[in-house]
């Protein structure tokens, strides 16, 4: 019985919308959201660079060469070298790995845990909801960077600790957004119908509520990605993120970069461009995705 209702529901919705293949949808996205497509392109390029770092990087990102300190950008070293004579371009290429790794894992962990808590909170309601909401309120009382700073300072500088420090402040934010959607989904007649038909709770949550909160979850995830990459850069810049000699973009900007600025202005310049470009791509893409998925913001 439950399945028949589902089938009727899906056929009704697909009959209304014109059939679009995946390729059509991509073409439409590029045409209607040129900025979003540009963002997607930047993200893809960054992923390719990160994946092929071993092939693309002209030098070893960790290899110090004291004969070549502060070499100007040249045909040998396109972006010059740093105070240890390491090739800046190679370090930036490897840095894409760190940025993407921290960005994706931190937002994924934060949004998924937060999303789960949000769904549980909305579906169970009552005391559980009240308790979880208060807990989220407490976490929300701390500005994101301050909480991340406090957690990172306790855990010590290491890449996996940075992921935890950035993920925790995301949890309450994702929980809040997903909970709000789940609450309204829960009020739908079809949820009432399946529960009247005696469907077990886990089935209602997994089959009927979770699929309907996927859109806000994905919006939240893409929206947090850029922020997570920025947070990693900021923590590393402040000396609480990845430790030397890890080629983290934020770390490359800390301390020495500015003190050698007059001698080697490329040191503070290029890592910043890399961070900005990466975050810019994620933000552009996230923005357009939100516009496309959130019907309220569509041009009426």
């Amino acid at each position: 019985m439950a399945t028949r209702i589902e089938v009727a529901h899906t056929t009704a919705t697909t009959a209304l919308a014109p059939q679009l293949t995946r390729a059509d949808e991509i073409v439409r996205f590029i045409r209607t959201k040129p900025l979003g497509a540009a963002g997607a392109f930047i993200i893809l390029a960054m992923m390719v660079v990160a994946a092929l770092a071993t092939v693309l990087a002209p030098y070893d990102a960790y290899h110090a060469n004291y004969g070549l300190q502060f070499a100007r950008p040249s045909t040998d070293h396109w972006l010059g070298t740093d105070e240890f004579g390491r090739d800046l371009l190679s370090r930036l290429i490897y840095g894409a790995r760190i940025a993407l790794f921290v960005g994706f894992t931190a937002s994924f962990i934060g949004c998924t845990l937060g999303g789960l808590l949000g769904v549980i909170s909305a579906y169970l309601g009552g005391k559980v909801d009240l308790l979880l909401e208060r807990l989220m309120d407490i976490l929300l009382a701390f500005p994101q960077l301050i909480l991340a700073l406090a957690i990172a300072s306790i855990l010590g500088p290491a890449v996996q600790n940075v992921v935890i420090a950035i993920a925790i402040p995301i949890i309450p934010r994702a929980a809040r957004v997903v909970r709000a959607t789940a609450l309204s989904v829960k009020e739908n007649v079809y949820v009432e119908a399946v529960s009247a038909l005696g469907a077990p709770r886990w089935r209602i949550v997994l089959r009927h509520i979770v699929p309907n909160v996927v859109a806000p979850y994905i919006i939240m995830l893409t929206a947090q990605l850029g922020g997570a990459i920025l947070a990693e850069a900021a923590l590393s810049y402040l000396g609480l993120g990845a430790a030397e000699p890890t080629p983290s973009w934020g770390l490359m900007l800390s301390g020495s970069a500015l003190s050698y600025a007059e001698k080697a202005p490329w040191l503070p310049l290029f890592p910043g461009i890399a961070i900005s470009l990466g975050v810019f791509g994620f933000n552009l893409f996230g923005d357009s995705l939100r516009d496309a998925l959130d019907p309220k913001l569509r041009k009426g």
Partner: protein, 317 residues
């Protein structure tokens, strides 16, 4: 309205208690023995008697619950203990640095509003044209550039082209406005530009939403000129969420202060946090993280109350 205010004010009490508990757990329970850290835990050679005395001084020999109670009582009396680094009372150190951060935050907010509201409105009115794209690239770019990097670029430009060095001592504006201006202008612009990115986007999307309302169609139908429709009818109604955002982005501002003050070596609250973390100055970190959360919660409360005052529908929900 009165019951609403009372309800909201009472609601922040458990939040603040929870925040205090969380800070206590993160800063005091997880790092292990603070006494060991103070006596130089890294060196390895520690006199046992000294350690016991230090634990007693810090109250670490008491139960966790008593310690938490003592800390809470300290918060109520604004006594956050002494800094491990300077030995001065935390609250005193804090008050020295507060004016600078407040000035930076206030001016940066003003700069951001001056940039954001006209730009956001323009982008909304000319949606999906090159003006809109330019404004969005400008604002998304502002969000994409790390605050500390914008600061670094600023300093880099000033140092290379003007041989400028950052002044070291903070001069309050009422003592010497010109010296104060010279010191604060670049940090203010740095934080303000990034902050404006957030506000511009918000202004754009709320104006867009309002432009679809019936009363805007009516205004057009009456034959009003574009300027009248946009400024008198749309912008006025779109401002409320923007004002709210300016309040709630306090968190964003604090994050901006932390990195910007570090870049410009300004001796404010943000840099105080970073230095305290670097020195493992737990009483200071603990106090600052809690006070920042306190400020954040209070600002949010004020924003909510203002909102409710403007929009009576909220009070009755």
């Amino acid at each position: 309205m009165r019951t609403y205010v009372l309800k909201r004010v009472l609601l922040i009490v458990p939040t603040l208690l929870g925040a205090a508990a969380l800070v206590f757990v993160i800063m005091r329970v997880i790092p292990g023995d603070v006494a060991l850290l103070i006596l130089g835990g890294d060196s390895g050679q520690i006199d046992q008697r000294q350690l016991t005395a230090m634990r007693h001084n810090l109250g670490l020999d008491q139960s966790l619950l008593v310690q938490f109670g003592t800390w809470l009582w300290g918060i109520v009396r604004l006594d956050f203990g002494n800094s491990l680094w300077t030995g001065q009372p935390v609250i005193q150190e804090l008050l020295i640095r507060l004016p600078l951060s407040l000035q930076l935050a206030l001016f940066a907010t003003i700069v951001s509003v001056i940039i954001a509201i006209p730009l956001g409105m323009l982008a909304a009115v000319r949606q999906d044209t090159w003006v809109d794209y330019a404004v969005r690239v400008f604002s998304i770019g502002g969000l994409a550039m790390p605050g500390f990097w914008v600061g670094i670029l600023c300093i880099l430009g000033l140092v290379i082209f003007f041989g400028w060095g950052p002044p070291l001592e903070f001069t309050p504006p009422w003592v010497d406005p010109w010296a104060n201006f010279q010191m604060m202008v670049w940090p203010v612009v740095t934080v303000g530009y990034r902050f404006s990115a957030v506000t511009t986007r918000m202004t754009r999307s709320t104006v867009l939403e309002v432009l679809r309302e019936d009363y805007i169609r009516t205004a057009w139908a009456k034959g009003l000129r574009e300027r009248a429709v946009v400024i008198r009818h749309a912008l006025k109604n779109a401002m409320l969420p923007v004002i709210t955002l300016i309040g709630t982005e306090f968190a964003f501002l604090i994050g901006g202060l932390v990195v910007t003050e570090t870049v410009f070596t300004l001796n404010g609250i943000g840099r105080f946090v970073v230095d305290a973390v670097a020195h493992r100055d737990y009483p200071v970190v603990q106090a600052l993280v809690f006070l920042i959360a306190f400020g954040f919660v209070v600002v949010n409360l004020l924003v909510d109350l203002t909102y409710a005052w403007f929009d009576p529908r909220i009070r009755y929900r």
